[in-house]
Symmetry: none
Subunit: 276 residues, 2 copies
Amino acid sequence: MSDQIAPVSLEEFNHRLAEISETMPKRLRQCAEYVAQNTDRIAVSTVAELSVGAGVQPSAFMRFCQLMGFSGFSEMQKMFRETYAQKWPDYATRLENLRANGDDSPSALLAEFVEAGRLSLENLASTVDLETLEKAVDVLAAAPMIHVVGFRRAFPVASYLSYAFEKMNIAAVLHDGVGNLNPYHAIRKGDVVIAITFAPYSQETIDLAAYAHGLGNKVVAISDALSGPMRKTDALMLSVSEVDVGAFRALSATISLAIALAVSVGAKREKLIDGK
Amino acid sequence: MSDQIAPVSLEEFNHRLAEISETMPKRLRQCAEYVAQNTDRIAVSTVAELSVGAGVQPSAFMRFCQLMGFSGFSEMQKMFRETYAQKWPDYATRLENLRANGDDSPSALLAEFVEAGRLSLENLASTVDLETLEKAVDVLAAAPMIHVVGFRRAFPVASYLSYAFEKMNIAAVLHDGVGNLNPYHAIRKGDVVIAITFAPYSQETIDLAAYAHGLGNKVVAISDALSGPMRKTDALMLSVSEVDVGAFRALSATISLAIALAVSVGAKREKLIDGK
DNA sequence: AAAATAATGGAATAAAAATTCCATAGCATG
DNA sequence: CATGCTATGGAATTTTTATTCCATTATTTT
């Protein structure tokens, strides 16, 4: 076993690998070779699998881990699993720390929201369901009228969507609940509804979507989970998970998705007009 | 155990999750919720870890796996480990993949907005004027009533601000222009106005801010430049520069700043109350 | 309100995986 | 070519992890 301290990051790991692989015996060098080429598999494989891949015995692989400075395979794997998870730090814990420090200064809060926003955006980029997004664009591009609905914390998103539609000369109404007018009359056959709602889901939004669906109309939903009550309306579900800061979220990802959707619809419509 | 066939891809998995999660009992729904939000952890975690994450017993998590169509956790994990390699590429690559689908495809546009949002947030973090921000928090925390005003593309920001204030039980009104009522009567001496406006600046917003300033009231402005017409109102100017995508912007930075401002005010008020 | 059914928690068990150990094979050195 | 040292393979052991089972608790139905 090496008396060296174990690497704690990918960089350190690679450095040590390069450093010692020269002087390794044959089998262990095979391990080094294989590991260098398949770094990404370490987090999700067993010693048995890796040793087969490297063409050595499990015990040989074990010795390799120890030479690298770890106590064994498990410890080495732990490092890789943690590196992978690093992108999603535990926000609950971080917030607790923040609270514990009494650090609710404006700048600390702003930093939190900025960081939460960045994470949410990254996550959006890697989890968005492109197929559904494209279907939603098609449906909306063909709609004679778009109804946008979203209350409470979804309302800013709804209002921004209708602003964007207006700017692009796309027929759209924002159902804002002003005057408690019955919005149902406005919905005609063929119209499309964009419903935005997050847990706890607001009943008005769900009802409107359900009503439109009952008429045989298409519904596009923007929500924070694939499950949720919009499911019943057969909606094209676009789910976004925002990283919360305390009881609030910055809506960065949701608004980005919404505006991208709107602009895509605009682009698609232009294409359709040009095509004719 | 379900007689359904097990999902073999992330899409299938998500689909099935959405499909059955409404009809699940409480604990299993907790699992579904947690899994939907932490898909990336499954490949590198144990049942024990995931079940504490979801707040359930390991056996409950087990039943969840079976309901999803797998024989057990191991089989489910296998699916995630196999698709793991595709998720490993970093954020830059994922963005490229989004862009690869053609210039004005929804995914390329989304990538643009995501990237613009990230840049804007970075920029916000490094350029925000902390001193002004803190002054604004102080002023707002002391206000008997907060008036929020912002039209057109600033309106989503304004509405989110008033949502946040409402949630924190802070007296605030959103001047939304509905009914063309004269908003000036609502403004009393000592009230504070938050005015949000971007070029081209909307006259109503400027007028309201100027009126409040004329009464001797404080004005907090969120805008896209330090100059601009709000200057005249002696406002505490918070400037945010958003990166545009074509004619649109994702508002990520502006909303983050706004919500951080609101939450800071809430925190400050609590402190003031505790102090007395 | 009682009975039946479904859900849950927790401990017991089974399975899988990691780790160690040791006998043997290879290799260099005198 | 014998001796000591290192490397190796494979089986035995230990540890961790998944899975099952059942008693208890909720929920629904009659």
